[in-house]
Symmetry: C2
Subunit: 239 residues, 2 copies
């Protein structure tokens, strides 16, 4: 029998140090909204997305003529035309373009993960597609939740729990960390209604205050695309 | 109507910075096994426990004639007669004594919490007693889980979830953080069988390998004592 592979869940970018050297594949998750927006962008024909950690770097690219988006604390940063709303990326003018993006949490976790062998971007939008691809690789996987300012958040954890639940159910993967076991339990509790379970989530409440209910509903609806964004030489492209 | 008070859950000592300035009462939790051992010690008549962060400090006290315990990675440190097994503290010779203790995770969280107005020690053993006392105080509370080497662990989180569930059910407390909501859900999933739920927990597996099943069973059995250990001038005493 083939040896089973590990799938673990890391709750925050700050906790990634502990997992760093043990996994071939890192799956970066920022459900509300960076990795959902990235999936939506590729589904809609964007050529590449360059994630940058700072607003200053995004501005540099903007000066060079790139389309650049910037979000901080759920809002579009002044001087930019879009942030991390998935609906922004459905603009037909974005097709075939290279886009630069900086966000509060999502680009930070892409940055800490960047030296791994394979770095993928996941959200509820491409859940089954990413799991099916992972199963074929036969490698150890860690789901890296972006969290909220380096704190635990529910929506990323539940998405990571959904991925590990899917992989473990094949019989080809196992988890050992308490964080992974908790994520799987939280996903199982949430299964019947993603939106219902995390309606009390603090980040969702923040987005609600910003009138972004439409975004939240979209980001929590699984399997709207089969695209798998992958990090290649500092750029996200379609696998 | 009286304004409701907050009860939140912090998963690790490393995450405490975020909660630090907003809470009057900190409840330190290290179910396997430091805070369980501390509760057992006071139940059995110990006078005080001096928590120290390093083995060197514990040795200094030992030289001065104190009874001193030291645990690292689940085992008694060489040169010490006891570690953090609750059963060690049931020794009749410990009655009325002042004891020094250093442990892998538990004394670290006592150390980060030490400047709060009130610092209490909780475990499953004194669950109802601590909740009943808290309700009378009408103050904001944070449950600080000790975790495992600054990573999330299940048993501390479920104990914290039990405390917040108890407090919220009175109608006098509320939570806003995602970590607190997750802890409450995990506790509710675990309610029927503490031991069953965390049988897959990584720390429990570590203890099992050390033949400490009896300790684990004891530490997961709620309400065996009414003592509430409180930190006063660097010493834990009975409230």
């Amino acid at each position: 029998m083939e040896k089973r592979k590990r799938v673990e869940v890391c709750f925050t970018p700050g906790g990634y140090e502990y997992f760093k050297n043990d996994f071939d594949i890192v799956i970066v998750i920022d459900v509300l909204r960076a990795t959902s927006a990235i999936c939506a962008a590729f589904e809609n024909g964007v050529n590449s997305i360059i994630p940058v950690p700072t607003i200053e770097e995004a501005k540099e690219y903007q000066k060079k003529g790139y389309l650049a988006g910037a979000e901080r604390k759920g809002q579009i940063v002044e001087g930019f035309d879009f942030g991390n709303s998935p609906f922004s990326y459905m603009n037909p003018e974005f097709r075939g373009k290279d886009i630069v993006l900086t966000t509060t949490n999502g680009t930070k976790s892409l940055d800490v993960a960047k030296d791994a062998e394979t770095v993928l971007v996941a959200s509820f939008l491409n859940l089954d597609a990413i799991c099916e691809w992972i199963i074929k690789q036969n490698k150890d996987v860690v789901c890296l939740c972006s969290g909220w300012q380096d704190n635990f958040n529910l929506e990323d954890t539940i998405c990571a729990g959904a991925i590990s639940d899917y992989l473990i159910n094949t019989g080809k993967f196992y988890s050992t960390e308490d964080s992974s076991i908790a994520a799987k339990y939280l996903f199982q509790s949430a299964k019947k209604s993603h939106l219902g379970f995390i309606k009390s989530s603090s980040h969702r409440r923040r987005l609600k205050n910003l009138n972004l209910n439409k975004d939240v509903h979209y980001c929590l609806t699984p399997n709207q695309t089969k695209v798998i964004p992958i990090l290649k030489n500092g750029k996200l492209v379609k696998l």
